[in-house]
């Protein structure tokens, strides 16, 4: 069970996407895990052949539990692993497969077969009634099945508990300091307007990606903020994976990573950001997206907030909050003019950096946003 965040202590295996004997390549999705925060796709970091599943769908296991054994290419088959524990779902192999294909949550299924076993028919019934994870967003007006709603409520509760645990830990362990600066967005917004005129609807940019890209590039200059706190010290990350806070419709939030943020063009970043938001809300994030962020960016401008004093998401050591882009009197070249501005706030871990470095970072973000075409 991969760690998908410091607040995660365990996860429930929802379904296997592979079966023993299947070859897998690094980066492939092999399973889906339900954490307190979201349903997440688990990817593998080795290339080989799945030898054995050790955890069965429906089982909740602590982080660090081995889910499956993957035999690397060329390795001999190992001795049989211990049997799976109790609490197995009574579902036919074929029904399980079908549920996977139709995207039906196993937890939503109720068996009507002999002995209460879940059969293909049961899966089809739920699928028809709208119990599919991905396809049911169509909102045909049909009421979701009761078990699905219950499961969602349960998930929300668990997510709340997880956020509580992480934030409490953050406030208890991390000595936060906060720095705030107001950044003129006149040039950035003008450039964006022109840029979007040239772009078809599907490729237009949101100003948010300019902020994200600026943060990523500023981290190159102040890499101490791009780190995780581990075993009593900060470990700087070579790669810059900006986690973006995404609120979920049913409540709660996730902050998955946009991998290698600093190396993506604005167009790529926009496409990936859109995709990430979509998947976060559909519950199909990848495990690495949840485990990899090296810093978090959050924006509450949509809600009209001007300044955000965020709580760092452990084990990260910094968080950048953005408020609303608002028109303010702005002094430029000795003259007062109305100009769009945004307030950027850095929350940083004082164990790792001091205000001086933090100030340099915010200054870099400001400077980068004044040259939007170079972002």
């Amino acid at each position: 069970m991969p760690t998908l965040g410091a607040d995660m202590s365990d996860g429930t295996l929802v379904a296997w996407k592979k079966k023993p004997g299947d070859p897998v390549t690094r980066g492939e999705i092999i399973a889906e895990v339900e954490t307190d925060k979201a349903a997440i796709d688990v990817e593998v970091f080795t290339t080989g052949v799945i030898e054995k599943m050790l955890v069965q769908p429906g089982e909740k296991v602590p982080v660090g539990t081995v889910l499956a054994i993957i035999r690397e290419a060329g390795q001999p088959a190992s001795a049989p692993a211990p049997q799976a524990g109790p609490g197995r779902l009574k579902i036919s192999p074929s029904a399980r497969q079908l549920a996977l294909e139709l995207g039906v949550e196993l937890a939503s299924l109720q068996g009507t077969g002999p002995g209460g076993a879940i059969s293909r028919e049961d899966v089809v019934r739920v699928a028809k009634a709208g119990g599919m994870r991905h396809e049911t967003r169509g909102g045909t007006g049909e009421q979701p099945l009761a078990p699905v709603a219950e499961a969602a409520a349960d998930r929300l509760l668990r997510m709340r508990q997880a956020i509580a645990a992480a934030m409490t830990r953050s406030k208890r362990e991390i000595p936060h300091y906060y720095l705030s600066t107001t950044i003129g967005m006149g040039r950035a917004m003008a450039w964006l307007g022109e840029e979007n005129l040239k772009r078809p609807v599907t490729e237009r940019l949101l100003y948010g990606v300019l902020l994200i890209k600026a943060v990523a590039l500023a981290l190159r200059e102040v890499p101490e903020l791009n780190a995780v706190w581990k075993d009593g010290q900060a470990a700087q990350s070579r790669a810059i994976h900006v986690g973006v806070a995404i609120s979920l419709r049913q409540g709660g939030l996730v902050a998955p990573a946009l991998h290698d943020t600093d190396r993506q063009s604005l167009s790529e970043l926009m496409q990936n950001f859109r995709d990430l938001v979509k998947r976060a809300r559909a519950g199909s994030l990848r495990s690495s997206e949840l485990s990899d962020p090296t810093i978090t960016v959050t924006s509450l401008g949509e809600q009209g907030v001007e300044t955000v004093f965020g709580v760092i998401y452990p084990p990260q050591v910094a968080l950048v909050g953005f408020g609303k882009v608002v028109e303010r009197p702005w002094v430029a070249e000795g003259r007062v003019l109305p100009s769009p501005v945004v307030t950027a706030t850095l929350s940083a871990d004082h164990r790792v950096t001091d205000g001086h470095r933090g100030g340099l970072f915010l200054a870099a973000v400001d400077r980068l946003l004044q040259e939007p075409s170079r972002l």
């Binding site: 005129l197 237009r204 419709r249």
Partner: protein
Amino acid sequence: MSVPLTAEEVARAALRILGEIAPEADVASLKPDVSFRDQMDIDSMDFLNFVIALHEALRIDIPEADYSKLSSLTGCVNYVLAMSGGEKTT
């Protein structure tokens, strides 16, 4: 487009798209003249997706400057019909 769109078709398309973006919302009971944002939880990303979906479903081009005209259901209908040369609601 050979056959002009009707107001009903546009409204249906807009509501369908909104429903997909915000499945938890009861789109059927949206007030047509009030801004979507005041009635449901959608952000700029959702709105962008709404515009993109509208563009793809109805094959109309929507410049960014016109986004504000799409903020309500009535606004959408009027804008789209104007763009596609269809009928107009009052």
